[in-house]
Amino acid sequence: MIRLEKRPQPSRAFSLATPLLAVVATMVFGGLLFAALGKDPLVAIKTIFWDPLFGEFSFFYRPQLLIKGAPLVLIAIGLSLGFKAGIWNIGAEGQYIMGALFGAGVGLALYPLEGFYIFPLMVLAGALGGWIWAMIPALLKVKFGTNEILVSLMLVYVAEQFLASMSLGLLKNPEGFGFPGSRNLQQYESAFNADLIEGTGMHWGVVAAMIAVIFAYVLLTKHRLGFAIRVTGEAPRAAKFSGVNPARLVLFCLGMSGLLAGLAGMFEVSGPAGQVTIDFNVGYGFTAIIVAFLGRLHPIGILLAGLLMALTYIGGDIAQSQLGLPAAAIQVFQGMLLFFLLALDVFTQYRLRFGRQEVA
């Protein structure tokens, strides 16, 4: 007879060990999956986790780590604030798209003007775009008690359609020979989010992600608002008595996560992606959910988790081209990670007891 017994205190050791155990478990089961697909599991795991960092072409892949990690960390930091307080924004993908459209829209509207002020304006517009998109579920929740999960998710589909409409219509490159997609911002100097140090992948989005990590850390540990977020998540009744304003918290958490997702989209479209296209978004908004949980909703944890998840993206690409591993296999791999994390998390709050339960 095995049963679970609630721990008097959550185990700190398990809280830290769970993400690592989950990664190991995912590697084992992911390896089995790759073997089932007819690939050598050890080679596949090495290709995904080792080659991008220390392989022959790592000089090319290492900068990618920052490029792919930055949007994940930016979005996940925002999401984690809400998740901590039980406010579920799962529409970051939509906010990411709107940020990119607003940011790119401002840049393209000013083309071919050159000026130092153009890029900062685009940053503001990107943040605004994501913020506005997230304020829709926030205001509806505060005013009407509408479920923010469903509304924020529905808005992802709306944003995707809006993106399609924009890249085929308003933002389409007039000199693009009729192909869908906007002008390439990489060729527009004042709007280009270039590497700050050539060849490192270190663009403004990476800087923003770093600032977001520090900001979230300070907010959660030192600020009254951070206390409100934590207490609301852990003990909603206690939060009420301590004078937390739930409506303001919803507006702040959703707004902040939208703002950061919008920034991520804006930095992506003006830098690595370069242009607005129909399939500009690649699911960072959803992967960031995994990043937030894998990082235990803690800023430093999210930073590490974001880098790890970026690694699986890059390694997945390499495995796809070198081993013919399907792209979807990596998606399954990432999903598995979240499963193991959630399952193993039980040992933070509970411990296993063997033997028959005694009658009290």
Partner: protein
């Protein structure tokens, strides 16, 4: 623009077809939520059902076997959710999201070699002279058996929840798991069975999209229908007949915007395609003031010691 191109009879027959995937997914989720569990993985289970059903139908040549495989696939995937939330007591929102992310990846992986294939067709039931009745005939009597099954499932769910002991136990578990536990009901077992039922239904709904409605396999083809099904359960205040009504409403809107796209209305295609999602939001806003109908234990974790 040529609105006369829309044939009202074909339109109504079409929206019954468009509503069926929603009916399956939503009635399954309704039972799950009645038992006190919130499974946000409907989209993931639907898309998994869609590919399981599609692949099986193509390989065996039998659409009905396909539907059976879809139900099995959906139920198996939902077992993962049941394990996470009932055994390891994980957060239901996070576990549901994990299920959706995982299901989308898994289905893409399974479906790689099935892109661009046409599945075998499930024939319509032959109602003989009934199908020849003007107007009513083509609307009601020219469909496949699964569509009628969806309708029957709603009726059966209503009857079971309202009139049977099984329904009473299910509702008791959803309203107060501690009281149900004290009475000796196996809360975890009942919820696990409910979750599997929800998974099987979502799988059937997914297969209805890939085998009948579209019929084709493309990655991510459920396109948010699983999420609309979740909204539909709220819309219906957890009542089966209202759910049916809601599904027809959404089916009608989907069908209408498709027809308008076909008729060449001056609104761009993208804005028409947004409409089902926007209307879902609007309906949620109108109906979310009253939450009293929600099962009291919805989304709460049950552990016998606490």
């Amino acid at each position: 623009m040529d609105l006369s191109a829309i044939n009202p009879i074909l339109f109504i027959a079409g929206f019954l077809v468009a509503a069926t995937p929603l009916i399956f997914a939503a009635i399954g989720e309704l039972v799950v939520e009645k038992s006190g569990t919130l499974n946000l993985g409907v989209e993931g289970m639907m898309i998994t059902g869609a590919i399981c059903g599609f692949a099986t139908a193509v390989e065996t040549g039998s659409p009905l076997l396909g539907f059976a495989a879809a139900a099995t696939g959906g139920a198996l995937l939902s077992l993962l959710f049941a394990f996470l939330t009932q055994i390891t007591l994980a957060n239901q929102v996070a576990s549901g999201l994990a299920l959706t992310l995982f299901g989308l990846g898994l289905s893409a992986l399974l479906g790689q070699s099935y892109v661009g294939i046409k599945p075998p067709r499930l024939p319509d039931i032959n109602f003989g002279p009934l199908a020849d009745i003007p107007v009513i005939g083509p609307i009601l009597f020219t469909h496949d058996i699964i569509l009628y099954l969806g309708f029957a499932l709603v009726a059966a769910t209503w009857a079971v929840l309202k009139f049977t002991r099984l329904g009473l136990i299910l509702r008791a578990v959803g309203e107060s798991h501690d009281a149900a536990h004290a009475l000796g009901y196996k809360v975890v077992r009942i919820r696990t069975l409910a979750i599997m039922f929800g998974g099987a239904c979502a799988g059937l709904g997914g297969a209805y999209i890939s085998l009948i409605r579209v019929p084709q396999w493309t990655e991510g083809m459920t396109a948010g229908i699983g999420w609309i099904a979740l909204a539909l359960v709220v819309f219906a205040s957890w009542k089966p007949w209202r759910l049916l009504l809601g599904a027809y409403l959404f089916g009608g809107i989907t069908q209408l915007q498709l027809n308008l796209q076909g008729a060449g209305v001056a609104i761009p295609v993208e804005y028409l395609a947004m409409s089902p999602y926007l209307i879902t939001i609007i309906v949620l806003v109108i109906l979310s003031r009253d939450k009293s109908a929600a099962p009291a234990c919805l989304g709460r974790t049950f552990h016998a010691s606490s």
